[in-house]
């Protein structure tokens, strides 16, 4: 099967993962099968607690105790690496470092002048100019989240794992950052995995939208978004895809579906 | 109850025979062998029984601690070296020397490591010599130096506790030291040291029995009974030397062979002879001169022979 070296960039193969909570087994992921091509933008949606973060953590190399295989570029993932960046669901800023220090934490650049410059670029990108020397406890929730995004972007990873990166942002800031992420994706050819609860966002950004079902987290369906970019959030096709996803999501609850759409 | 007299002033109004208990501080060292024998045989309890007085034995590892306990009002009768006794009295602790527990000029000595080239106190000039400051070792050292026309300023005097003098001697950190029994005999037996000079002709090495003045004045018979038991122990050592040594060995953790040797060096003679009073005066003068004590002590008043006369 593999005489040709033509495997996908990231291949998640029959991954199962359990947790022990209160001496009982809680299945978190079940038979996850997903192949992502280099440069692809994959959105993941699913209900709270269905295992989205766990999946990202496995790809990031932070969870090693699972069944199945995950390969990146044909090699099994055995730990974290600079080729993958992650924005955690919580911001995880170091409280004793300023915004600039937090952002440059993982920067391999050693020239301090250049370092500062890079940091400044990203601080402006996430709209935090003026807060370079602020400590995390002096930032609002959304500002902290933006620093975390900048920290993940700064090293230009090949694969970027985003766990609800815009969850605490207002609509305007969110849209601006979505544009930035798209710009980076296009210019750097980064592969993206985005977990989000905002289905508009999932469609607007993703090449495909992975819909996960509730415990144990399984892939219910994968919906391709074959729309040209820049996408129009108000277009009819967009609305159709949205409806399809919501239907997957709410299939037990048509009433709610109506509320939303 | 004298037990309540921790805060020291309370045993003041004691009148004859009202003490229910005597707090007796002892040190398990060969200097006080008769007391240890008396303890083993229950002689003190025996002689105090008619007086209806109990004995509370309090053990201390060294004499200065006994002195400290007296100062805190924790003891009625106890034993220690003459130096701690005089220091305590000089600090206004109201005590009296009621008897002598032992003298032994041979039990303290100036020693050097086995292979040292020093053969006489005169060779000490410029050398590192260690002993415990404010102890009778310092007195002997001073006497020995004086006999060769030297003073402390001619040597490098180092203050150390006994146990550390031993380590320092053996590692060669010091050239000589003044040590005393039981360490002296133990090191001698281990062939680790050589004796340059002991106290013979210089200092008798006196250990004393002291009593709280108020207690003694109020309960003279108790003190006398203890002294009598002490004398009985001293006699026992003379008449039954082997048995006596076995009894002492139960209190003192010195190997039996060495213990026998050490005991033989001691002269257990509770009586306070004029000769000893003179010795004590010389010690006192030395201490005053070297600022070991601030206030001088009138030895004639400090020594109280009356409890012997009662016998």
């Amino acid at each position: 099967m593999s005489l040709l070296n033509h495997h996908p960039y990231l291949e998640i193969n029959d991954v199962n993962k359990q947790f022990i909570v209160d001496d009982q087994i809680v299945p978190a992921l079940s038979a996850i099968q997903l192949a992502i091509q280099a440069g692809e933008f994959v959105s993941i949606v699913g209900s709270s607690g269905c295992g989205k973060s766990t999946l990202l953590r496995i790809v990031a190399g932070l969870e090693c105790d699972y069944q199945g295989t995950v390969t990146l570029d044909g090699k099994r993932i055995v730990g974290p690496g600079l080729d993958r960046g992650i924005v955690f669901q919580e911001h995880r800023l170091l409280p004793w470092m300023t915004v600039t220090e937090n952002i440059t934490l993982g920067l391999t650049e050693s020239d301090p002048e250049r370092k500062k410059q890079i940091a400044q670029t990203y601080i402006e990108l996430v709209g935090l100019a003026g807060f370079e020397s602020a400590f995390p406890n002096q930032l609002s929730g959304g500002m902290s989240q933006r620093v975390a995004i900048a920290r993940a972007l700064v090293n230009k990873p090949q694969l970027l794992l985003l766990d609800e990166p815009f969850g605490a942002l207002d609509a305007l800031t969110k849209i601006q950052l979505q544009q930035e992420i798209l710009r980076i994706w296009q210019s750097e050819k980064t592969t993206m995995m985005l977990v989000t609860h905002d289905i508009d966002e999932a469609i607007y950004l993703g090449d495909r939208v992975v819909v996960m079902s509730k415990r144990p987290g399984m892939i219910k369906s994968i919906i391709p978004v074959n729309l040209p970019r820049p996408r129009n959030r108000t277009s009819y096709q967009f609305f159709e895809i949205k409806k399809a996803i919501y239907r997957e999501f709410f299939h037990e609850d048509e009433a709610s579906l109506e509320y939303v759409i | 109850g004298s037990n309540a007299s921790k805060s020291n002033e309370t045993n003041a109004p004691a009148t004859e025979g009202n003490a229910k208990e005597v707090r007796l501080a002892y040190v398990p060292l060969p200097h006080y062998s008769p007391l240890l024998i008396a303890k083993q045989n229950g002689w003190i309890e025996e002689s105090l029984k008619p007086l209806n007085v109990n004995v509370k034995w309090n053990s201390f590892s060294i004499g200065p601690l006994v002195s400290e306990s007296f100062a805190a009002g924790g003891q009625d009768v106890g034993v220690m070296g003459d130096f701690p006794a005089i220091i305590g009295r000089s600090a206004n602790v109201d005590t009296r020397i009621v008897g002598i527990t032992s003298t032994s000029p041979q039990s303290l000595a100036l020693v050097v490591p086995k292979n040292s080239s020093i053969t006489s106190p005169a060779d000490l000039k410029g050398k590192k010599v260690a002993t415990t400051k404010g102890s009778y070792g310092q007195y002997l050292l001073s006497q020995l130096l004086e006999s060769k026309g030297l003073t402390v300023n001619d040597i490098k005097f180092i203050h150390m506790s006994m146990d550390d003098v031993k380590s320092a001697l053996l590692t060669g950190d010091i050239d000589a030291g003044v040590i005393w029994d039981p360490l002296l005999t133990i090191l001698e037996d281990q062939n680790a040291i050589r004796i340059i000079a002991d106290g013979t002709g210089y200092y008798q090495g006196i250990a004393v029995m002291i009593a709280d003045h108020k207690f003694a004045a109020a309960n003279p018979k108790v003190v006398t009974a203890i002294l009598a038991a002490y004398e009985r122990g001293a006699q026992f050592i003379k008449s039954n030397p082997t048995e006596a040594k076995d009894l002492v060995a139960k209190e003192v953790k010195i190997p039996p062979a060495q213990l026998a040797k050490i005991i033989d060096r001691f002269n257990y003679q509770p009586a306070i002879t004029p000769e000893i009073t003179e010795e004590l005066k010389k010690s006192e003068a030395f201490m005053a001169k070297n600022q070991i004590i601030k206030n001088s002590v009138d030895i004639d008043k400090f020594v109280d022979k009356s409890y012997f006369l009662l016998q």
Binding site: G61, L62, E63, C64, V78, G79, P80, G81 | K6, S7, A25, P28, N58, S59, F60, S61, I62, L65, E68, S69, A71, A72, G74, M162, D163, K166, S167, L170, T171, P182, L183, I186, L187, Q190, A192, K253, I254
Partner: protein, 272 residues
């Protein structure tokens, strides 16, 4: 800068594994190697036995002291004293530490006094201990208490001051009682620090046993050591040191086990 974290390895953070504290062979290598070197020094004639007796002699002495019951007798006395002194220190250290950590005023009033008393050596307290508590057990326990009290106190205060202010705000918003605030929010958060205080304090109460048993009496490991020192029985001194060391280690082990039990909820970093 080339040493990288976790590249190609399993994650280095785990919950306290159940077997975390059982003895592993690595722990024993170094002590054994040191013992062998020490013995070799003796065999080669580099150290005289009277200065530092070799492990073989120490072993023999241990055997003797075990046989005649001396070791257990002395250990028993010291054990009880340490337990009493340490328990008191825990009691007072925790109570006062909590009071000082929770109430700014208590802290202000007591801090100066405590900081001045803290560095005063246990030995220097002996005369006062005798004055206040006589020469019996009480004064010994007091000295041991002093050794353990201060590290516990300081660590409790520090632990409390580390209380996450986010949780303080939660407590305020929920208006929970001071009692509940202390027991449910402050203490669990301060627990790692408190446990460190207990461990350091316990170590020091064993240290203070020697000073305490200088006071009077003829029992206890501390007495045994000082007595043996006076009699130049270096082997017995070493046995005493070893006994204190091993007993101390056992106690520490128990405290660590307790800590593990109490901090089940916590993920600790255990190094690579």
């Amino acid at each position: 800068m080339s040493l990288h974290l976790g590249k190609g390895t399993a994650p280095k953070v785990r919950r306290y594994p159940k077997n975390n504290q059982t003895f592993t062979w690595q722990q024993f290598i170094l002590p054994i190697v040191l013992l062998i070197i020490w013995q070799m020094f003796f065999e080669l004639g580099l150290i005289r036995s009277i200065v530092l007796p070799p492990p073989s002699t120490v072993m023999k002495t241990i055997g003797e002291l075990l046989q005649n019951g001396q070791l257990f007798k002395h250990l028993g006395f010291s054990l009880i004293r340490v337990l009493e002194g340490f328990s008191l220190a825990v009691l007072f250290g925790l109570t006062l530490g909590i009071a000082m950590g929770l109430f700014r005023n208590v802290y202000l009033w007591l801090d100066m006094l405590i900081q001045v008393l803290r560095p005063i050596p246990p030995i220097a307290w002996i005369p006062l201990a005798i004055l206040w508590f006589g020469i019996d057990e009480m004064s010994k326990i007091f000295i041991i208490f002093l050794g353990a009290f201060f590290p516990i106190l300081i660590n409790v205060i520090e632990g409390i001051s580390q209380t996450d202010h986010k949780f303080v705000e939660v407590a305020k918003v929920l208006e929970i009682s001071r009692l509940k605030f202390t027991s449910k929010i402050v203490l669990p958060g301060a627990l790692p620090s408190i446990m460190t205080g207990l461990r350091v304090g316990l170590g020091f109460s064993w240290m203070c046993v020697v000073a305490a048993e200088l006071i009077a009496g003829t029992e206890g490991i501390g007495y045994m050591i000082m007595d043996a020192r006076q009699l130049a029985q270096t082997d017995v001194v070493l046995v005493g040191m070893l006994t204190i060391g091993i007993t101390g280690k056992c106690f520490d082990y128990m405290l660590k086990a307790l800590e593990r039990k109490l901090l089940r909820w916590k993920t600790t970093y255990q190094g690579a």
